[in-house]
Amino acid sequence: MSRREYLKNQKQKGRRLIGVFPAHYPREILWAFNSLPAEIWDPPLDIEGANAHLQPYICSVVKLGLELILQGKGDMLDGFLFPHTCDSIQNMASIVYDYLGVGKPCYFFYHPKAPYRPSSRRYYLEQLKSLVSRLERDLGPMDENELRRRVEQGHHLASILREIYDARRRGGLSASNADFYRMIRQGEYLHPDDFIPLLEDFLKASRGGDGKGPGVILSGVLPNPPEILNLLDELGVRVVDDDLLCCGRRIPMHTTMAQDPFEALVDSYFAMPPCTTKDSPLKGRVDYLLEKIAASKAKGVIFYLVKFCEPEWFDVPCMAEAVKEAGAAVLTVDVDLNQGLSGQLTTRIEAFVEMIGRQQEA
């Protein structure tokens, strides 16, 4: 079933569909309102109208998101949620809400940026409650027991994802790189009632890889163009872990079930890996990546970056330097989403694979 068919089906079942822009937001609250977040990262569209509203140096995540609205592809959605991720998404939220007037509810969600202080927890808690109040105005009262149930479900989902990531890191997953991310990214629109069993089946069916081939780690925003994953598969390279905003960086490293579901959500937020969109200190990001390299014995890191993504690019030179100093190879590629693989990009990736292959031989 295609994403569109699935969402249509969910709507027929009585769920409200909320289009959510990247990246961090409390999914459990939307689930508790019997709403389904449909995340908007890289819709497969040609950019026709968004360039009239956005500067040339805005990334293609934002351009494609706005394009989706301008082309009416989001008509099925009942509202939009704009997390405060970066200046460009904030700018788009303003264009959509203040200027275009989409005629659907628009929700805004702010989360604390690092460095964290005791007040950061209080701030986040207030933001969660403020989002609930705003949603209640449109959707009616939220059942707190339902929220507790959905928070528990979110924890369960996170634990399965961690198990899948652990299996892959240990070389115990047979799924190709392309299949792995196709599966993980379905979480961007599937309801947890459907996604969790799918993940469990995937884990069961994919256990038992041979762990052969050099391992690499992906760091960046999202694995698009997906052709890069296909190429890595063809070249016999295993992606052993990731530091991708849309994937690994949104899985809490641990979860604790506090009595109060809001407190549990706060715990989860602060248990997420370091991230550029939270202004995490560089040292924390470097340490996190180096730990991943050590744990997975990765031979290299591919910084798989969306062109003009400022938060990511700020950190890359220092991150790349630290990875090289740790003895792993680095490849930095900058892409426009959905652009496919150019001959030059293919050469860069193949040369990188040859390089780590020969280093392994040496």
Partner: protein, 271 residues
Amino acid sequence: MTAEDPIKNRDCVAGIDVGSLSTEALILDMECGTAGYAIVQTGANSTDAAVSALEKALAASGIERDQIRRIVATGYGRVSIPFSDKRVTEISCHAMGAFHLFPDTGIVIDIGGQDSKVIRVGEGGRVLDFAMNDKCAAGTGRFLEVMADKLQVALDDMGPLSLKAGGEIGISSVCTVFAESEVVSLVARNHPKEEIIRGLHRAIVNRVWSMVKGIGVRGAVTMSGGVAKNSGVVSLMEEKLGQPIHVYSEPQIIGALGAALVARRDLQDVQ
């Protein structure tokens, strides 16, 4: 480096480098080293260019086709050589080729027809790190071709002419399209060609320099690719580096040489 050895029972390997502008084939005798090579224009068909280059290299070396035990293809057209046994990127091949010719090579600067690369080379010609220019032909051989045409100067004369320049005209963009219109304006104002050419060379060097800085200079520097034949670019690059650069007498064949060396290594591994 033409083939003088007509012995017909020797095992040989070949490397073929299909670039955007030219295609090179090089035959390596397993015992005696390079037997011969050929350079042809790539034109519109990579496969035809590869066949033609190989035939010419065989003719130049006096080697028969059935003496070739293994062929490695490289360059952007490496995927279009159905008779090759293996494909290796030009980044690995330029590192191998340059290291073979100049064993003290630490950095290779390869400026080809439509891209440029800076490669850090380690023991045995291994690639330790590399950078490649991004998505357009700015500051490459194609850039120089367009400018030579606009200035009505033979490509081969650009280097010597720029070395005679009494001064230098700054070119503000290395984008082929923008630089072309800038050159037209400079010609219209009767600026000396030599000074414009020197400015163009400076723009290329500055463009590549950012990649050199990113990779870091360690050891000797070798230039490969067609643009290494341009003495003006090499001279400005040496000035920027503050050290001399190795330039082989035929820098265009370094990629094909590297490919042939990979073929030889593979064959030796099997044997």
